[in-house]
Homo-oligomer: 339 residues x 2
C-alpha cells in the first residue's frame, strides 16, 4: 500500500483544513492508501480529536519546527531540519514513504525537494508549472512559473519533455501540444535563447519526444493553442500572477455597473443578482482547487505543492494527484526520456 | 504652424479611415496645425474627393510604395525607400515637418524611425510602451512591449526615465511611479539583469530623476501600483497580448451563461441584454483608441504608431498626441535628463 506524507503545517488555513482534507481523502477513497500526517503535535492532535479517525489508514508524526511563508527558501531548509517539510521529504528519500504533499512555502518546498530528493537522472533543472483556463476542451499548463529564471535553451526543452510525459500519463491528454511563448509566431523571433530553444524543440519534435507547433504569443494562451506553454520562469510567473488578478479587477468594475442599472430602475434586484452569479461563474475555469496543486517535475521523488490558500478539497485532490503519479510511473518515464 | 505628416497607407482600415481621421482632426481643431497626408495617389485621391476639404490645412504628397503588415521590418525600410513610411519620416528629419503618425507595421515603424531619425543624445535604445487598464484614477503604462528583447539593466533604467518625462509633461501625471516587474517584491529577487536594474533604478531615484517604488509583481499591474511598469520587451509583449485576449475569452463564457438563464426562464431578454451591455462596458478601460497610439521614446523626432485596427478616432487622437508632445518639449526634456 502507498504511503503519502502530508504536511499538516503548510498553507494559510493549516493545520485545520489539512486535517479535514486528509480525513476526507481516506474516507472517500475507502482507505486506498496510507496517510502519514506530519506536524506540530500540540497543534494537530486537538484537531485530530475532533474527527472520528477510527479505522482510517492514518498515522501522525511529530515535527517540532515549521517553515513559514515568510521564511527565505534556501535558509529555511538548512536552518529547519526538524520541520515537517524537511522531515517529510526525508521519509520519501529513505523510501519509508512514496510521496510528499504540502500547501506551504513554494520556494522552500522547491529548495527542500531538490536538496533532499535530488534530481532524476538526466534532468538539468526541476521545474514547476501552472494551470490556465482555455476556450474549449482540454488543459493548458504553463512552464516554468517561477522556479527557474534565466533559463537556458536546454532547460526549456526539458520542461516541455517532462510536462509532455506528465500530461500524457497523469493528466490523460492524448496528444500534448507544445508552444514556445515568444513575441511573434515566425521562426527566428525573440531573444537568442528562444531562437536556440526553438531549434532544440524542433529537434525533440523530430525525435518524436514532443509535439511542437512552434512559437506562440500571449493571446494564444487563453485561446488554447497549446496544452504546454513553455517560457522562462520570469515570464510564466508574471503571466500567472497577472491572470490571477483579473477576476478581482473585473469584478470591481462589473458590480457597480450592475448596481447602477438597479439604481436607475432598469434592472430588478433579482436579475442583477443572477447576472452577478453568471459573471462569477465564468471565472470557474480559473479555479485551481480542482487540481489541488502541482508536482515538481524532475526531482527524484514525488513532491506536490499547493496554493497557500488551499482548502481541504485542494488538499484531498493533491493526495489523489500523488497517488496517480505513482501509479502512472511518471518519474520513471521522465527519466527514460531524458537519460 | 506645426506640420504633422500622416501615413495614409498605415493600418487595416487605411487609407479610408486615415483620411476620415485627418479631416476630423482639422475640423475639430479649427485648422490649428497643418497636415501633410502621404500615400498612393490613386488610392487616396478618390477618398479625398469624397470630403469637402476646402479651407482645411491639408496637403497631399504621393508616395508610390507601401510597407505592408507582412513586410519584414529591417528589409522593408531599405527596400521601400519610396514608401509613405520612409518618405514621411525623412520630412521630419529634414525639418520640413514636425511629427510623423502611422497605424502601419509597428516593427517597420520602429526600424525606420531609428534609421531615419536616429536617437536622441544619450539614449542607448529607443523604446515603445503600451497602455493598461487599472483600478482607480490615473494611468498605467508598460515599457518595453516588444521593441527590445534582451534588455540590459541600463536600458530598463532609461525606459523608466523617458516614460517619466512623457507621463509628467505629455500625460499630465503629477508624480509618475516606477515599478520593476519581477517575480517577487523583495530586493534581490529575479534574474541578474533585474537585480542590477533594481540598483540602477534606486540610484536614479536618489538623484530625483524618477520615483521608484521597487519590484512589483504581475498582480500589481491592474491594481495600479505603478504608473510605469518596467520590464523586458519579451515580458511586456506577452502580458500585452495576453491582456488583449481577455475580453474575447470572457465574453465567450459570459454570453452563453446569460443565454442559459434566459432559456431557463430565470432572466428576461431585456435584463440579459442590459447585463451583457454592462459586461461589455467593463472592458472600456481596455480601449486603446482614446489614446490613439504611442510614440517611440528616444528617437530624435516625433514618430507615433497606432494599432493596426485604428479607427478614424484613433488617427485623430494620434495627431493630437503629436501636437501635444511638440508643445510640451518632451524630446528636449528627455535629452536633458539622459545626456
Amino acid at each position: 500500500m502507498l504511503t503519502i506524507v502530508v504536511d499538516a503545517m503548510g498553507g494559510d488555513n493549516a493545520p485545520a483544513c489539512v486535517v479535514d482534507g486528509v480525513v476526507e481523502a481516506l474516507r472517500e477513497s475507502s482507505n486506498r492508501f496510507e496517510i502519514l500526517l506530519i506536524g506540530q503535535d500540540e497543534k494537530v492532535a486537538p484537531l485530530l480529536r475532533q474527527h472520528d479517525t477510527a479505522g482510517l489508514n492514518l498515522r501522525f508524526m511529530h515535527a517540532p519546527e515549521v517553515v513559514t511563508m515568510e521564511d527565505v527558501p534556501a535558509t529555511a531548509v538548512k536552518a529547519k531540519q526538524e520541520s515537517s517539510l524537511v522531515l517529510g521529504l526525508k521519509l520519501c528519500k529513505s523510501k519509508e514513504a512514496d510521496a510528499f504533499v504540502s500547501a506551504g512555502n513554494t520556494g522552500a518546498m522547491m529548495a527542500a525537494s531538490l536538496f533532499v530528493l535530488g534530481r532524476l537522472p538526466g534532468v538539468l533543472r526541476p521545474t514547476i508549472y501552472a494551470y490556465f483556463p482555455r476556450l474549449g476542451e482540454g488543459l493548458t499548463n504553463i512552464v516554468d512559473v517561477g522556479a527557474n529564471v534565466d533559463c537556458k535553451p536546454e532547460n526549456l526543452v526539458q520542461f516541455a519533455e517532462m510536462l509532455t510525459i506528465y500530461q500524457r500519463y497523469a493528466a490523460k491528454i492524448d496528444n500534448p501540444v507544445v508552444g514556445l511563448l515568444n513575441i511573434g509566431e515566425e521562426e527566428g523571433k525573440g531573444p537568442d535563447y528562444l531562437k536556440q530553444a526553438w531549434n532544440l524543440l524542433q529537434e525533440a519534435h523530430g525525435q518524436g519526444k514532443i509535439n511542437f507547433i512552434g512559437n506562440i504569443e500571449g493571446h494564444d494562451i487563453l485561446a488554447g493553442k497549446a496544452t504546454i506553454v513553455v517560457c522562462d520562469g520570469l515570464v510564466g510567473n508574471t503571466i500567472l500572477k497577472f491572470g490571477e488578478s483579473i477576476p478581482h479587477f473585473l469584478g470591481a468594475l462589473f458590480k457597480p455597473a450592475l448596481e447602477k442599472l438597479v439604481m436607475a430602475g432598469k434592472l430588478d434586484q433579482n436579475s442583477a443578482a443572477l447576472a452577478g452569479q453568471a459573471f462569477k461563474g465564468i471565472f470557474e475555469p480559473f479555479d485551481v482547487e480542482k487540481f489541488g496543486g502541482v508536482p515538481f517535475l524532475g526531482v527524484d521523488g514525488i513532491s506536490i505543492v499547493g496554493h497557500g490558500r488551499s482548502s481541504s478539497r485542494a488538499i484531498k485532490n493533491m493526495i489523489y494527484m500523488a497517488e496517480h503519479m505513482i501509479e502512472q510511473r511518471v518519474n520513471e518515464r521522465i527519466a527514460e526520456m531524458l537519460s
